[in-house]
């Protein structure tokens, strides 16, 4: 009951091979256009790759490019897909939309509707059961679409941004519901929210430009990002370079003091923005980086200071309190010093 996919779509620069173990929930993260939806479409059978093979639960899904081309149509895959748009059937009520999967599986009308009611309740949309999709709000439609995908009780579930368009209360309810539901199923979930990955994914895959650039257990990938996108996602500052005795030397020549991973090894260092102190003059600290402010962003209690640093070889950001920001007279273009202790840096090979 595991999934193994290897597929290539030349037109989209997509080339991925991926395995998902039975019962595992995999989160797919990545920038827009990375190929996340493309991957789900291929697994679901909506997109035929130019070449590749796929297998799910011992059954071949497709095998293209060899001598005998094989293609299992979507309805025979036992894989249900929640696409990025809700795409509710406009001529059916919310209830019948959700009941569509059970009905197609051969259940009686009443049984299918009973199942559908259960799922509508799970997504807090029980009161919408007789509404037509055309009269639902964006978030309401999204909830019904989630219920529909889950009600098909597929062996493999593919969810493309299931919690988008949902309000905070419902999102957190659904996040918990998905954690419960996905615990016993094999699933792939595309998301832009780290919280989703943390809540219900066993493992994450980070995609970019049609390829997988990082993967591993959720916490590990998010705590030790190897790629700037992953670092941004995890809300960390990432500095890459080569390991040294002191810690790490960036390509810009800056030495980051921290635990050593061995000299000459390609390595990365991660620093939490809240662990960075911001100074107008060089302070006394384990690590001091000279930066130029590029942008200031209010964030509730604090202000995020985004900066560029040639020595660090990229952008760094830190959070300061509004009071401190005023004291430092922050403005784009200002020169500052970011300081952080060696103990706050996590250095690891990449």
């Amino acid at each position: 009951m595991s999934l193994a996919i290897q597929a290539r779509v030349a037109e989209r620069g997509f080339d991925v091979s991926l395995e998902v173990a039975e019962g595992e929930t995999l989160a797919i993260l990545g920038p827009n256009g990375a190929g996340k939806s493309t991957l789900l479409d291929i697994v679901a059978g909506l997109l035929r790759p130019d070449a590749g093979r796929g297998e799910w639960a011992g059954t071949p899904l497709f095998d293209i490019g060899g001598r005998h081309s094989l293609w299992l149509p979507p309805h025979r895959r036992g894989i249900s897909l929640l696409a990025q748009e809700p795409l509710l059937f406009p001529h059916l009520s919310a209830l019948d939309n959700v009941a569509f999967g059970p009905r197609s599986a051969g259940h009686s009308k009443d049984a299918a509707r009973a199942t559908a009611r259960t799922w509508l309740a799970e997504v807090e949309a029980a009161d919408l059961e007789s509404s037509r999709p055309g009269t639902l709000s964006g978030g309401q439609a999204q909830r019904v679409a989630v219920a529909r995908a889950l009600a098909a009780s597929p062996k493999l579930l593919l969810l493309d941004e299931p919690l988008s368009a949902l309000d905070v209360t419902v999102a957190s309810t659904l996040r918990r519901m998905l954690r419960r539901v996905l615990a016993t199923r094999t699933a792939i979930v595309v998301t832009h929210e780290v919280l989703d990955a943390l809540t219900f994914a066993d493992r994450v895959v980070v995609m970019n430009g049609g390829a997988i650039i990082e993967q591993g257990p959720t916490r590990e990938v998010l705590e030790r990002p190897r790629h700037p996108f992953t670092a941004e996602l995890a809300g960390l500052n990432l500095l890459t370079g080569t390991g040294s005795a002191a810690g790490l030397v960036t390509s810009g020549g800056l030495t980051i003091v921290g635990e050593s991973v061995g000299a000459g090894v390609k390595a990365a260092a991660a620093v939490r923005p809240s662990a960075i102190a911001v100074h107008a003059v060089p302070p006394d600290a384990d690590n001091v980086v000279r930066v130029t402010v590029s942008d200031l962003e209010p964030r509730g209690d604090s202000i995020r200071v985004r900066t560029e640093s040639s020595a660090a070889g990229g952008s760094l950001h830190a959070d300061v309190s509004p009071g401190r920001a005023a004291a430092l007279d922050l403005a784009p273009g200002a020169e500052l010093y970011f300081a952080f202790a060696a103990s706050e840096v996590s250095i690891y090979p990449r």
């Binding site: 679901a44 059978g45 909506l46 149509p73 979507p74 309805h75 895959r77 036992g78 894989i79 249900s80 897909l81 696409a83 748009e85 809700p86 795409l87 509710l88 059937f89 406009p90 001529h91 059916l92 569509f100 999967g101 009905r103 197609s104 599986a105 999709p133 055309g134 009269t135 639902l136 964006g138 439609a141 999204q142 019904v144 679409a145 529909r148 995908a149 098909a152 597929p154 368009a165």
Partner: protein, 270 residues
């Protein structure tokens, strides 16, 4: 509630539309001036007129059913599959539209007539098509089918395959998808295609005359009756035409309702 649709179409469009409507409606109104109203009831209730009307309704309904049965799959094949020669098939399926009706009848004779390519086969099974009501239905189906296929195909393309794909990922077999998604989605188009076919079958004349002949109660449909009446009594012909027009208006008016247009900026309604 949705946008007042009138606000999105330019006013000059309405003006031209009214001109267009008048262009079609005016001759119909003018026609009523040629009706011999005092004798109208007598003319249209003559046994031969009634027989022709009933035969026309029966055969047109049968032809419409045949068009739906054959035309829906044809439209699906043209819209949802790709094969070599598809454009040729589409063009050929259109042909009965352009064939002068009489020649359509000759083509049908060449195919299904007693000396036609399939005639021997039919004869062998003791089936004679010519001069039978079946022949009328065949002729009407032949000329009406393209209407259904063409109007349905463009609607199928416009509707796209996204909902069908979603249904498939929910485990629905192709037949289920067809029955529960595709057909309901294009139902308004199917209905208007069927009405078009019915209307065309109801007005069919030339192919019927050539292929089926003209015998009261068996093959003489209302258009044939009208044509014949014209020889002796043009007034009666016009009166009968008015009956045909009324039947058509009734059928069309009762079936083609203003279908509800999906609301505007809502998700999931595409």
């Amino acid at each position: 509630m949705d946008i007042r649709r009138s606000s999105t179409i330019p006013r000059w469009v309405i003006v031209v539309a009214v001109v267009g409507a008048v262009f079609v409606l005016f001759p119909l109104v003018a026609m009523t001036t040629r009706v011999d109203w005092p004798n109208f009831l007598v003319l249209i209730t003559s046994p031969s007129s009634v027989a022709a009307l009933l035969l026309s309704l029966r055969t047109s309904l049968a032809a419409t059913a045949a068009c739906v049965v054959l035309g829906v799959p044809l439209a699906l094949m043209l819209a949802r599959t790709e094969f070599r020669g598809q454009r040729l098939v589409r063009a050929l399926v259109l042909l009965p539209l352009v064939l002068p009706p009489v020649i359509g009848g000759i083509a049908l004779l060449a195919a299904f007539g007693r000396r036609g390519l399939l005639g021997q086969t039919f004869d062998f099974f003791g089936v004679t098509i010519a001069f039978s009501t079946t022949a009328v239905v065949i002729a009407q189906t032949f000329v009406a089918l393209p209407f259904l296929v063409l109007s349905l195909e463009s609607s199928l393309r416009l509707a796209g395959t996204r909902y069908e794909a979603v249904a498939a990922t929910l485990g629905a077999r192709p037949t289920t998808v067809l029955r529960r998604i595709t057909l309901p989605l294009i139902f308004p188009a199917l209905l208007s295609g069927a009405v078009l076919s019915f209307a065309r079958a109801l007005g069919e004349f030339g192919a019927t005359l050539t292929f089926a002949g003209s015998l009261q109660g068996v093959t003489r449909t209302l258009p044939l009756e009208i044509y014949l009446q014209r020889e002796t009594d043009p007034d009666a012909a016009v009166a009968l035409s008015l009956v045909l027009v009324l039947v058509a208006v009734l059928v069309v008016g009762l079936t083609l309702r203003t279908s509800t247009v999906p609301s505007l900026v809502r998700r999931g309604t595409s």
